[in-house]
Subunit: 386 residues, 4 copies
Amino acid sequence: MHHLRIGMIGYKFMGKAHSNAYRALPMFFPDALKPEMAILCGRDASAVREAAERLGWPETATDWREVVVREDIDLVDINAPSNAHKEMAIAAAKAGKHIFCEKPLALNLQDSREMLEAAVKAGVAHMVGFNYRFCPAVRLAHKLVESGRLGTIYHFRAWFLQDWILDPDFPLVWRLQKEVAGSGSLGDLGAHIVDLAHYLVGDIEEVIGLSETFIKERPLADQMAGLSAKGSKKAPRGEVTVDDATLFLARFGNGALGSFEATRFAAGHRSTNAFEINGSLGSVKFDFERMNELEVYFTSDDEDVQGFRRILATDPAHEYSEAWWPPGHTIGFEHTFTHEVLELTNAIREGRQPEPNFRDGVKCQAVLEAVERSIAERRWVSIAEM
Amino acid sequence: MHHLRIGMIGYKFMGKAHSNAYRALPMFFPDALKPEMAILCGRDASAVREAAERLGWPETATDWREVVVREDIDLVDINAPSNAHKEMAIAAAKAGKHIFCEKPLALNLQDSREMLEAAVKAGVAHMVGFNYRFCPAVRLAHKLVESGRLGTIYHFRAWFLQDWILDPDFPLVWRLQKEVAGSGSLGDLGAHIVDLAHYLVGDIEEVIGLSETFIKERPLADQMAGLSAKGSKKAPRGEVTVDDATLFLARFGNGALGSFEATRFAAGHRSTNAFEINGSLGSVKFDFERMNELEVYFTSDDEDVQGFRRILATDPAHEYSEAWWPPGHTIGFEHTFTHEVLELTNAIREGRQPEPNFRDGVKCQAVLEAVERSIAERRWVSIAEM
Amino acid sequence: MHHLRIGMIGYKFMGKAHSNAYRALPMFFPDALKPEMAILCGRDASAVREAAERLGWPETATDWREVVVREDIDLVDINAPSNAHKEMAIAAAKAGKHIFCEKPLALNLQDSREMLEAAVKAGVAHMVGFNYRFCPAVRLAHKLVESGRLGTIYHFRAWFLQDWILDPDFPLVWRLQKEVAGSGSLGDLGAHIVDLAHYLVGDIEEVIGLSETFIKERPLADQMAGLSAKGSKKAPRGEVTVDDATLFLARFGNGALGSFEATRFAAGHRSTNAFEINGSLGSVKFDFERMNELEVYFTSDDEDVQGFRRILATDPAHEYSEAWWPPGHTIGFEHTFTHEVLELTNAIREGRQPEPNFRDGVKCQAVLEAVERSIAERRWVSIAEM
Amino acid sequence: MHHLRIGMIGYKFMGKAHSNAYRALPMFFPDALKPEMAILCGRDASAVREAAERLGWPETATDWREVVVREDIDLVDINAPSNAHKEMAIAAAKAGKHIFCEKPLALNLQDSREMLEAAVKAGVAHMVGFNYRFCPAVRLAHKLVESGRLGTIYHFRAWFLQDWILDPDFPLVWRLQKEVAGSGSLGDLGAHIVDLAHYLVGDIEEVIGLSETFIKERPLADQMAGLSAKGSKKAPRGEVTVDDATLFLARFGNGALGSFEATRFAAGHRSTNAFEINGSLGSVKFDFERMNELEVYFTSDDEDVQGFRRILATDPAHEYSEAWWPPGHTIGFEHTFTHEVLELTNAIREGRQPEPNFRDGVKCQAVLEAVERSIAERRWVSIAEM
């Protein structure tokens, strides 16, 4: 097997990011299994043709059911809105296709479990799109934890802060509607930092959360519009049915304490996806706005030169970096996806599951749903009870 | 009244900081009521004499009861260990003395309320030592919130991170013993960020917390030792009876969401007392390790030049700064106390209560105790029920 | 004309960067004239075939003379070592091909002038590869200067700091040999900051410089090796014939003062290409290691909130950014080339010269050569005399 | 000898800074020889009395000639305007008094040499006020260089950037008049970074400079006014006779290359006194606006965690720091003077010369004057020829 033929459903923000990754992979990682962009699928025939032309897909379709069963397709890439994930993934699994599904896996835990079951039963590879794991700086953080260089982990704190709906006249797009998006800041932003917590620290045992919808009604608008939609003060308004911000505390299985915050109301933060880990031997700090950097502290440094080091993760010693440019030459957001696709294709070639896979998606969803329950019932909720 | 005669009880870290402030005040704020350092009190006669010589106190005493009733004393400054505050403050109030008491006001809410009552009944001025309010950069943050320049406040997040007991062999000093210190990171560090929350955002309505003592036993040692005590692997060990770290979530009366973290286990953080406030019109960020700076963001900036500004709060436009040095010449930790003493002396001269006063101390204690109760009972606790 | 057929000579670091840009352009800038990667040329037949496979070129050649005259080629992209530029560019011009030539244009001013003359005479489009102009943050700096928002410019200071040859055993690669590279840090790094000075501030009038070769002999090695070659303590040594570091002062035509530094001996700096501009109304700061950011200061800000703003140049208000990802999602080094190719193709379609073109290359070379003369003759050298 | 009786001439910015240092010394460094503030001298009787009251001097005088010969004075502290230093210092030396003189030592090299000669002849201790040497972070930089931990030094670059006269209507104060101030940015700001270069790297061998007076006329005003004087658009104007900005390149005796810049026209920089040193084994960076921090890089760090460490120089391992506050609690500008006075008193007690002393002042003056000559004669000037 030298090629992996891909059928992709969805062509907006994530569709563009995935397409770019498929195209970049053979150039920067020439030894990888080569993704072949076969067919792009979307409901609007002319829009999907325009996207295919731009993104480099030779063929298009409007009915995803046809795509997922095509004989000449090896992998189905699902980046349609969240409420469509489940049905698509299960159909793809039944058709024996490998699956690459954007996060959140589904609107709720039950659905995501069914997706996992279907994929396991079908024996296909399944991956979930937690792309932030694939920053070289995050890989370095993971390596430092895994190898014990930070010692026993005491604290994980993470916050994903954005400000794109701060304006009360920003319209009621699909991401603000529960029936399509599942949840708001929690599922969109919180999901990423929960996955990072799992990846970097380990399993979460129990949680308690707090959330708020600061702006309760917004102008009605094309609900499919994206992050830069324009609202109108005069338009009729509809109810926002998801959370604008969610915070929660957590206790990890290994005894570490966690603090999480996801909000779309942090003025000045376009996309601050940041975390810090404190261990008995050192600490690390990461901020996605400076995604090539990791700050690292070691207690073992000589006593007169102890301090956080700002490491530019572009040296050959940093995972993925040698494939790109010389040290000091940074990469951008989009290449988290290139690395993600590298992991996906490597796993398929090696006959193993990629990481993160649907199990990670389910585990993340369990935490998110525990957070929601803890908010609704105003109590600590154990992940085990989910 | 041109002088304020002071009797001070305690002469360690805070006693040094207060002495320095009394000495600096007339030089930098020559129009202020002049503090006269009259008598220094401590239990160990030779140690207190040595301290008095060094810190500039002409007279010493070993019995605080004598000091608080002396006719030639106008103000009693209490910076003895926390478990002694209550008795001293009440005695000082009864003797009609103004009181400047270090935080935390007392070991528990009930005690702090009795102290407030005694001070109110006596009609004396009472101040509590939340010194971080007095950084020029924090004053600027307060001014921006108060004046509405940040709009409606949505988020307050604060963390006070230290690492001085990270070493498991650091000894069992008084700050690690509940009967002397009241609590650990919560009362020591958390108290400061709770006060900043009150000062900057407003009243807290309800809280839920999480805490941990990571190192449960430590070498026995001189329990009165300070932050830089040395431990021994071989010494017998005793139980740590306070929290090493405490986190909590909060809802403010005005609808803002709060996240708080206090820990002594954050490797690399010598004393990171940091907060961020996000409002509908802008945000501010502060980190005490760079105490002269405030980062400020305004949504109203031109769309191509929106970003956090790093403001060095050393311009004449910044409170207190003109008294010091030319713009760009920073001040240090110690001058938070000079400004605190300025507020104290101004308030006494003007016949008003200084801010923060015992009411603020009680309010802070109520939140801390609610946090403790929320941890013990694993539930949200309303401040109103305290 | 809907396509631009490209023949490219060279396939190492810059060949990879250019290939990537040609591939990315149609996806992110779908309205641009589409580059068609036609033929890749290099001396080593098997190496060039391997590169073509990886980089996406359908055909290869080993004789550049054949490539530049092919009828089916519209543009010749030259990124071979610097000493080959002149002959290739002149041949391409004579064949009526548009030319995209990497910097430095040539080994000396005379050669670069001949290249410009040939291109002008042939009436072809000519571009020189000063890619740093194409960071969105640098475009913003340019816009602020051009529009007068920084007022009269007083100062420009720039430094391009690297550390890749700090190890005395790093081998004698081609970049360290005058006959191939022309000069060392000056031509490699200094050229970029001189071009930025021209772009951002204006013409330089006179210069005086200082340079040094700290390590005068190095192990002989494959001279064609790149930035990450490995040396050997035991290998025979040869003379380093270029500068390790060059500094110079400059006076601009508009009265501004300039300070420039280029070095490969700045430990800890993988690739710090940084500048600052101070004007009567404001300042900007840029550092390529954080290429998505520009720091901006305005004297007109309210007096209590004056400070450098950290602007993440990823908003729709920033040039090129809307084509990429939502605000806060950064791009990397490689996309400076995508923007460069956008300018190149736009210029060709519009029948104008791209910027920067060979005139800018010549102007840069004149300054570099004036710096070299000023060092050799230990005196101020006017650009006019060159 | 347990006390050092001081007569001080001058009571503005530096007089205040010195007074504060004398007062702070016994409290924070109780083992030091105790400075006794005896008499304050200034020409305006009522102003000097007001200052003495505020700064803590028990006696005043208006004739400095009387002060320097008083039997009960051990040390003369000179912080009057620069043009008065020479006469005062020589008179003090003749009277056998130790001397602490602010920088610049004198208006020119010849005068400063006469001052040194007089002090040497008299056998008194002589110190010059290069206070920036006394930041704990700068001491750490010095220690790292001295101990060889940075290896062979290749580069020193320093810039002292201010913006207090950016407004063209800022008045013609004494610092802008050559006959009083000697020079402008060069003597005021450049002197400090030249001294830091001497302290941190070693002797400078030759220099070449460039300077400019951007605003050539300014409103006449009280010429004795300080940094925050107010100008008027309508006032008659006089000529600015000093440099607004001076830059120069230097070659050190040990082969290192130097770049220096001093300006009062860097918008947004209130007082950025910054330097960087690059050696074969590491680098350090310092910026006075964050005076408690030093950034340090070591080539010997493990290859996956190489980066600049941000060191907060407040640990016991950092010179002076243990005398102040616990780790993480910063000090301010003023305590550079406290440390300076500590060195002064220690040297006097130990019968040695303090560092920096008049020899350092002369050495600095020689460089500044060589820079001026290099500008006037447009050529490299060797320090040896001065």
